[in-house]
Amino acid sequence: MKRFIGGALAVAITAIACQLAPANERTGIDAPNLVEFETFGVGDYLDHRCGSLDCHGQSTRNLTMWGCFGLRLDPDETGLAPGCRASGGVNTQTNEYEASYRSLVGLEPAVMSAVVAGGGAHPELLTFIRKARGWDAHKGGALVTPGDDQDTCMTSWLAGATDSAACQRATTETP
């Protein structure tokens, strides 16, 4: 009798669960702007600062950055190798910006949605901000200070008002 009740219960739960979550349902995400990520210098800054081959320029990392400062995305095998135009290479391509963007935004989608929906008032809810600031354990250490150009580049993007000048300085004035 117990087996029968258990089996019936399992079937009932499965049936309800299937009805609650349609297979084709998609959940949206409030994400920061992709165009600004590519054209306002956010992606370049993150690739420059975080995407070296010994850090987040590795596809095995949860947060992976692609671009000319490190790991290249080359699905067509065109011979794209690490190195920007200044060193004889090819600057970051659109599909690399998009891949880095997806990696970053998809890292904590629910938290990202909450931060963006809140106008970027609490960027520290995101792990990548806490790690960059050294508030969470980070093998690369504390890299930014709240309010400096590097921090401003990231947090202004999350707030929907990317400070491209800060991103530019953050990319050129840090090693």
Binding site: R49, S52, D54, F69, R72, G140
Partner: protein
Amino acid sequence: MKRVIVWLALIACADPVHDAIVSSLGAEDPNVPQGELHRPGQPCLTCHDNFSIGGTIYTDDLVTPFSGASVTLVDAVGSQTMATTNSAGNFYIRKSDWTPTFPIGAYTNSDGNNVVGITVVGTDPSNVAQMVTHIGRDGSCASCHFGSAGSTVSPGPVYITTVTP
């Protein structure tokens, strides 16, 4: 009981990840004694944890070691050091001599001057190679510079041309 404790202690000290990395480097070349000429092109700091930086410089055929190249490094706070490659193309800097503040890379300092993190100069001073991307934290050149040529995951070996420009 003592045996069990010793056995547990040995297991506790083992690092299978590190052991696997060391194993992947293969055996020593029987023709090269262990020392500053051994294992060119391999990630030095995997075993030499007393090094801050170590690597191998090749000529432009990416195979022949470049002997006598000078490698100058400047860290994130402007501290500078230099090393010279030996006959195997190897160079290394001990932590006791220089412990850099990472990252090491190119940037414009507060005085507005351009700083290049790593500069390699060949025996002809006009042969210069500069690294414009940066080292985030790994002092082994070969952790990023590996393979026989450039690929999406590596710029290939560090080399400097022997041709006078």
